[in-house]
Symmetry: C2
Subunit: 668 residues, 2 copies
């Protein structure tokens, strides 16, 4: 990385490409003032900004010091630019307290592509669009042209749009071989619409911006993940089979477990999200947000878990960082003063959809400890639970909430998922259960990487829609991977069923076919179990599912290697093609195929009614997993009936014998 100066003007270059450029005629930083209007309804945000001032800041003075190049931006902001090898850091010191809007322009080229910004569900390459970065509900439908989105908007303000995500992150990777991270949790909006610059908007003067480069993308992801921290490896037991998501109490759940096993489906874990009890709302079946096992629905759960463990099966539960105001833990938490309050000192209760919860104030060390010890450890870990969905984290209200640390909730909102992740992580660390217990999260932010044992892609609609169905979890895994989070999975069959949209057997199976080639396989009954297809009601489906789970377990040696690579080097398990084929121009535009490690290419069928599928293969000789047929670089139409989702492996892979074993057992 090279900094070229000319008086107050400068250019930051890497490998011949300009990353930053400031000259009198080409401002790099704009600053000003705005007033936001934030409307939250059940985790869905309508955010508008009224920018009253905005102007470019000129460099009025530049001097080299030991700390780096110090640039005075009209006495409004002092910028210190520190260059060290292939890493540039820009530190900003605001001098004018009125500034609460900040725009950084980064050079762009026509051909450049950008990826990341956390977990993006709709678009992998970010060019041509802008991405508000604010953790929220992901949206139901996420496409204003669909009926489900419209109805969700009208009835729940919940339709969402392409950029809605539980896990936003102000970080992107450019095909110019750098990643850029804005060190701020304030509301941000990264705009990749302009031909010659990206404009990164932040609702504060950020503490710093980090730009690090590497000659190739693998090296770049190593650097990025070194900076954010890396995810630990998955527990060994996940590779034993499927985590089945069932519910409805002890009797129903355990008998469905037996039914599943009796149909030859290998089960690694039994996940009962309603271990804590249930609550029925107009949305569907919800949970009792009082995080302890429900004595009536799951009597003597600890003993039940013990029995499961004897059979090598794990038990998973569910928690989130809110406590319902009619629950016992809420009462106890209130005694301890763990909840964030309103300005008048009263509890701030958040509407989660026909019930109301207190927000545990994680900025208060005592509250954080209490939740970790009393809830995560005592009520989950200590009764033998092996994992849980660590749900939510996106609902920190911003209007009248007072936090212990005195910070504005507008700045803490995006940090919340990370605090929530860390709370889970610390509980495991302190009890020595890291590497053994698995929690999975949908919310995230910069820093989640280290603290989140597994991402799950959130609440897809139970359909094949491009912006909220099966396809989105591919894009989600790839963009999260470019953001430093390389372990992702999803609800097999999707989750949200509203307005007559229900899951089909085909959807469930297509999803399972894909999930076999992701780090973890887990089912979910969805928000309306009774109205939607469930694998356990269909013998044929169970046979097909058993096959895919077996494929997954057979893949374990290869998968473990990839997971280890993610833990050691930050190379995601699911990878965009260009990570391994930098010179293949076409590979940069592929959103719905992925490399499962260096040797396997997966092209999930994400549409209904397909019997064949168009696949793009990069350089090399590729063996079709199910037939053993050999293919070369290029576009191919391959058979892709149910059960035959296109998967290929490299002919010269050292795992070729393993892959061939899979074919012998499960191929055509």
């Amino acid at each position: 990385m090279k900094l070229i100066r000319n008086g107050n003007e400068f250019i930051l270059k890497y490998g011949g490409e300009t990353i930053l450029e400031y000259s009198k005629d080409r401002p790099m930083i704009y600053a000003g003032r705005g007033k936001e209007d934030v409307d939250m309804y059940r985790g869905n945000y309508k955010i508008e900004d009224y920018v009253t001032t905005r102007r470019p800041l000129s460099v009025t003075d530049a001097r080299e010091t030991q700390e780096g190049l110090i640039l005075n931006l009209e006495d409004e902001i002092i910028l210190t630019l520190k260059l060290s090898g292939d890493c540039a850091e820009l530190f900003f010191e605001p001098k004018n307290p009125d500034i609460n809007r900040f725009w950084l322009r980064v050079n762009a080229d026509d051909n450049e592509k950008c990826y990341g910004c956390g977990e993006q569900m709709s678009y992998f390459n970010l060019r041509g669009r802008h991405f508000p970065l604010w953790t929220s509900e992901p949206g139901v439908g996420r496409d204003k042209t669909t009926y489900v989105t419209w109805r969700s908007d009208v009835e729940n303000k919940a339709g969402g749009d392409y950029y809605n995500t539980n896990y936003p992150q102000p970080t992107f990777v450019s095909t110019k071989h750098y990643y850029l991270h804005v060190n701020s949790t304030a509301y941000a909006d990264f705009d990749f619409r302009n031909p010659d610059f990206h404009e990164l908007q932040v609702w504060e003067v950020p503490a710093s911006v980090r730009i690090e480069a590497a000659p190739d993308f693998i090296g770049l992801l190593e650097k990025e993940s070194a900076f954010f921290g890396r995810q630990p490896e998955l527990p060994e037991w996940v590779y034993n089979g499927l985590i089945i998501g069932v519910q409805g109490g002890d009797e129903r759940s355990f008998s469905l477990l037996e039914k599943t096993i009796s149909h030859g489906i290998k089960v690694s874990g039994l996940w009962c999200q309603d271990w804590c009890g249930k609550r029925v709302t107009s949305f569907g079946k919800r949970l009792q947000w009082d995080w302890q096992y429900h004595r009536e629905m799951y009597p003597e759960l600890p003993k039940r878990i013990e029995k499961l463990h004897e059979r090598g099966i794990k038990f998973l539960g569910y928690i989130n960082p809110y406590l319902v105001n009619d629950g016992e833990l809420y009462r106890r938490g209130k005694e301890k003063g763990v909840f964030a309050t309103k300005a008048d000192g009263s509890d701030y209760l958040v509407d989660f959809g026909e019930f109301y919860c207190g927000v545990v104030d994680f900025t208060n060390p005592a509250a954080y400890e209490w939740f970790k010890d009393e809830v995560v450890k005592k009520h989950s870990l200590d009764i033998g639970i092996d994992g849980w969905m660590a749900d939510f984290g996106e609902y920190l209200p911003t209007d009248d909430l007072v936090l212990y640390n005195g910070e504005s909730p507008m700045k803490e909102h995006n940090r919340w998922p990370v605090l929530w992740a860390k709370c889970n992580y610390d509980a495991l660390k302190e009890t020595g259960r890291l590497g053994d217990v698995l929690y999975f999260m949908r919310a995230g932010g910069a820093g989640s990487q280290k603290y989140c044992t597994l991402l799950w892609a959130g609440d897809q609609s139970v359909d094949f829609s491009i912006h909220d169905g099966l396809a989105t979890v591919i894009c989600a895994a790839l963009s999260a991977g470019m953001s430093g989070c390389g372990l992702s999975h999803s609800d097999i069959g999707g989750y949200t069923s509203l307005f007559g949209n229900t899951r089909t057997k085909e959807l469930f199976l297509r999803w399972a076919e894909m999930a076999a080639f992701t780090p973890v396989m887990r089912t979910h009954e969805g928000n309306r179990p009774d109205e939607n297809f469930q694998y356990y009601d269909d013998t044929d489906c169970m046979e097909r599912l058993a096959r895919m789970v077996d494929v997954y377990t057979m893949l374990a040696p290869y998968m473990k290697k990839l997971v280890a690579e993610n833990a050691e080097r930050g190379i995601p398990v699911q990878r965009p093609l260009f990570l391994h084929y930098e010179n293949d121009e076409k590979s940069y535009d592929i959103r719905y195929e992925y490399m499962l490690g260096p040797d396997m290419l997966v092209a999930p069928v994400y549409l209904a009614g397909q019997i064949q599928w168009e696949v793009y293969l990069p350089e090399g000789s590729w063996i079709h997993l199910w037939t053993g047929e050999e293919y070369e670089k290029g576009s191919h139409t391959v058979p892709a009936g149910l059960g035959d989702t296109p998967v290929f492996y490299k002919k010269d892979s050292q795992y070729a014998p393993l892959f061939a074993d899979i074919r012998r057992k499960h191929g055509k």
Copy 2:
């Protein structure tokens, strides 16, 4: 009006209220630069702005001169403030050519209300919302929560929103007793959301802003209309009865005329919009945009018109300022070079929905003359036509269009409806037909007042929806009235029928009941005549319609007085209650009742299934038109079954005997 100065700071006051205020801590003008993104699809615009700079301008120098107070705004803009009596004019001279965004802040109070901005369909009091001012299609549904809007958005980008209007005008009236007009046709957005200021955004530095005050609203409207020019009176013949909108050719139209008359419905005019031929598209029945009578559908039309005239019935047609590219007039116009072109000199053809038209360039005097003489005079007036719908005017494209006068189409777009109005006006004036011929327009702008013989409220949906149904035409008439346009009417029964939304008999009759108390009664078959209720298919409906038309004709002496008042003083025929009851606080919030002149109050039933209706009456003794019952000030629930739309008149009106006659003939 008073200007109070203190060095460079000043306050403009009227009657104790502050209108403008500038001090160092309270900027009045912001200026900057933006880049718009305008996407037009069949008259529906998606307009986004990317504001790169915006800053408040300080007054750096102030001096009194003979021309007024000259204020230097940081050498960016020179502002000359001229005060004359109760009128202040602000003239702006831009010194920095980079400025293309301009914001003026006008003082506001919590209790203040504002009205106008042209013809607004959804909201009469503008406070609490912002109003983009850009002539466009009005939207189908205009309410993102309705199915019709959603489908229109998805299929045609045509759903619209509360602010969509064919007739925007950068003028508003404040309850502080002033009107303010921004002298610019650039894109504007008037923002009335802030508690202590209104912010008027204009996409250029406007030539001037005019603020004129008067002690009462009647006086204020006189001044406003004196400034804009006033509408001429309506032709005498309109009071003879109903203008029936029928189509389908000579035989069908004239036989429906006879049928209408034979059922006792007084007819003033026969309006055949398809006099020029028809064209069937997926939207419904459209017209042949080649503005001459169709020899096959209407053979020997001039003779037919003569016959009608002998019976005292008028004939009306239809024209608009575009010519379809497969028509004869297009061919002739092209020979004359009357069309606006693309930058490369080729014709700019506009998509009007499955057919394409040339845009007659009204900034080219020769083109203007040609259209006026060849189309309006020769093909309409000269064959005896007595009026027409002067449709459209909102579609001036802004992307690649080159105009004769060299102006940017972004600035001419909002002027187009006025040029179009003037073209019709000049044709009448030059032929001496003004006061005899009636054309009605949906598009408008500042200046339309003088050139537009009658407004029509555009293309309502055939329903009772609040944002696109019957209710909107009340709001439209009142806001247009506050903008200086006091003659309005609408399609009885609405126009747009899409996505299964069809007209009922009830809707038609409710609309007719209201229309009897507007300047003109006219029916429309709608865009899909065959699928919608038509009065002529229903004997009972014709009886009821005959009654309402008779009421309308009986009202003529009173109506003529009001129309004359509008022509002489600019007092609209349909008036908000507060125009006559300034001290009645409640009257300022009434959006759906109106005064028909000083003596009559109309409270149209704008919802389905009503048998009674809540009415608010201001000070005085009021006689219920249909029953003769007397009511006093206050809220009353009155019977309002079909046929009994609530109407009251002042007990002491000099027209009381006339109103009593109506009751005797048509009351209960």
